[in-house]
Symmetry: C2
Subunit: 349 residues, 2 copies
DNA sequence: CTGAAAGCGCTAACAC
DNA sequence: GTGTTAGCGCTTTCAG
């Protein structure tokens, strides 16, 4: 832990130093700097000026310990190296920085049990707000630990916001997975495809369930039997997409359109199709989900449903800064169908 | 700030609670938990057991304030949404988590002046270690502020590690940009190309200078005049790559190979070429740099120089945990030429 | 080997 | 309006 070591280097100025230099008491200095009232405007301004020239930055640990407001937020993601999450993180961090907050990131590397542990740690760290990105689980029991941590945190006055549908009583930013999925499916159906297959993420995730529901409703609306839709589950990664595609090709060789439930999986789908010499979109149409940055640069450019990840992150943080409402807020996000080159009418045969 | 509010919820146990339950003094409890000696093994074990059953987690603010060791690291990146940085961040966070550390991320959104400010903040936050990712500047003066902050931090006993910076006196993880670039250029030259052009990032970045140097040395080794190499500078982004490519095409229409100095720019290069109907690699060979995840999925799959980003992150963190050496350590990283489909011999004409 | 007590820098009552 | 003072939870001398 950095500490002045008696050498020439001046240690970081403390509130006392500012107060002394400004000729006021430490209490007045504190009040002036944290913008509370009870100080004459003139004095406050003077104190702030002195603080600035001294390069004073409050010690957040002292501040937190003394019961003041913290300005460190916790952000929980599955995997920060995944573009979906890094774009969300970017939104959170930018919004936080704009308010002078820092953000502490944990990633659980897709290990469900790690989530609760990380939240415990954040709670112990007394972060001022918590944002949980990453899908909730279909089975509420799987979220028990997480819910417990989050509730304890909120119960103690903390502000928590989740992104996605969770079985937790707190504010939430809700991407409209179902409607977005329906629009993708409707697009593919509209092109004339009748033999769709879905390359899905883990079946226990709400995100997956919701997106599937959207697809099925579109099928239903088109007069097709949603019950017959082939769905292959796998990890929400490129590799997951590859494995699932292999299965689709093997078990449902007449498929003309593969709907992947996120862009990472779609990337895997495309790679396998390319490898097997199937042309997209001529021999097979492919869609993704999320519209991560690279979706536009894949071969071919990916038709996908866009979710505003960065905005979801900043919205979540801003929600966390607002005091808790009587009942949990739900902020739906918009979505957009982005049609690119990976979808086309099915080949006639 | 979360605080017990007298309701049924049990507040987080404190050290006193553990001490009381274990029947020892708070000092003994502290010693036992932080694994210092001066406590009998039996007592220490007992205290630890009590702490575990109580679910005790030390309050890091109190600990830090009292002069104990912090276990929060600061990580500074340009833009967390950029795969290059998010992969580094992933490495840092994983390595940190393995040691029970949290990491606080700041991104400067490529604003050089923001760097020093963020470092100031980290210093004020008394983070236990700082990792700075992102290129340094060719002009040492541009890094003055950053260097000053970092030195003050280290002077006070903090541990700082930079990734890819030369002008700061602290431990560094140094990707071998020059050699990696040389290998890419040698590959392209080996294919028979003689009219290369470089799509470069900002000219004031070391990373750019080093990579350029590598390319020039390869040119030199091949008996070509490095002085005649067209270089167009731009932001290290997809858009930067697009703009630069437009210029290359206009001013150096006979170019047969474009070397982009990072994968994001290469993405832009590919998009412009596609738009203009130039086939890669038939009409133009293209290379990238870094080998971010998606490089393999671009159209065509990108030939690039791989840097082990995630490993660079974890190495940096581990370096930060080791006590400072007498003279700054330099950890070179390896690199690898990854040949994919975006390069081929030039068309005969 | 163990305990008592003095802060770390700040906020928030509570006095004036 | 402004100053005084008692902690926040922990580490760390200093006694025993």
């Amino acid at each position: 832990m950095p500490r002045p070591d008696g050498a020439g280097e001046r240690p970081q100025p403390r509130l006392v130093d500012v107060a002394e230099r400004a000729g006021v008491s430490i209490a007045t200095a504190s009040r002036s700097l944290s913008g509370r009232d009870g100080v004459s405007a003139v004095v406050a301004a003077h104190v702030r000026e002195v603080a600035a020239t001294l390069g004073y930055v409050p010690n957040p640990h002292a501040r937190t310990l003394a019961g003041g407001a913290t300005s460190v937020a916790g952000l929980l993601v599955y995997e920060i190296g995944d573009p979906y999450f890094s774009e969300i993180a970017s939104g959170v961090i930018s919004a936080a920085a704009a308010q002078g907050w820092s953000v502490q990131i944990s990633h659980t590397e897709r290990d469900a049990r790690a989530e609760a542990a990380q939240l415990r740690l954040m709670r112990a760290h007394r972060v001022g707000a918590i944002v949980v990105a990453g899908s909730g689980y279909v089975d509420p029991a799987m979220e028990n630990d997480v819910a417990r941590e989050l509730e304890a945190y909120q119960h103690a006055g903390g502000r928590a916001v989740v992104i996605g549908r969770h079985h937790v009583r707190c504010d939430a930013v809700l991407p409209d997975n179902s409607a977005a999925a329906a629009s993708v499916a409707a697009h593919v159906l509209g092109l004339g495809h009748r033999r769709l297959a879905v390359v899905a993420g883990p079946r226990h995730l709400n995100t997956v369930a919701d997106r599937l529901r959207g697809i099925r409703s579109a099928l239903d609306a088109a007069g097709l039997d949603p019950g017959e839709l082939p769905v292959v589950y796998g990890p929400f990664t490129r590799e997951g997409g590859q494995q699932a595609t292999a299965q689709v090709l093997e078990r449902h060789p007449s498929t003309t359109a593969v709907l992947a439930l996120n862009d990472a999986m779609a990337t895997g789908v495309l790679s396998v199709l390319r490898e097997r010499g199937l042309a997209v979109p001529r021999d097979m149409s492919v869609t993704g989900f999320d519209d991560i940055q690279v979706a536009q640069d894949l071969a071919p450019a990916l038709t996908t449903a866009r979710l505003p990840m960065s905005e979801m992150g900043s919205t979540a943080f801003e929600l966390a800064l607002r005091p808790a409402a009587a009942r949990p807020r739900r902020k739906p996000t918009d979505h957009a169908l982005v049609v690119r080159d990976s979808t086309a009418p099915p080949a006639v045969r």
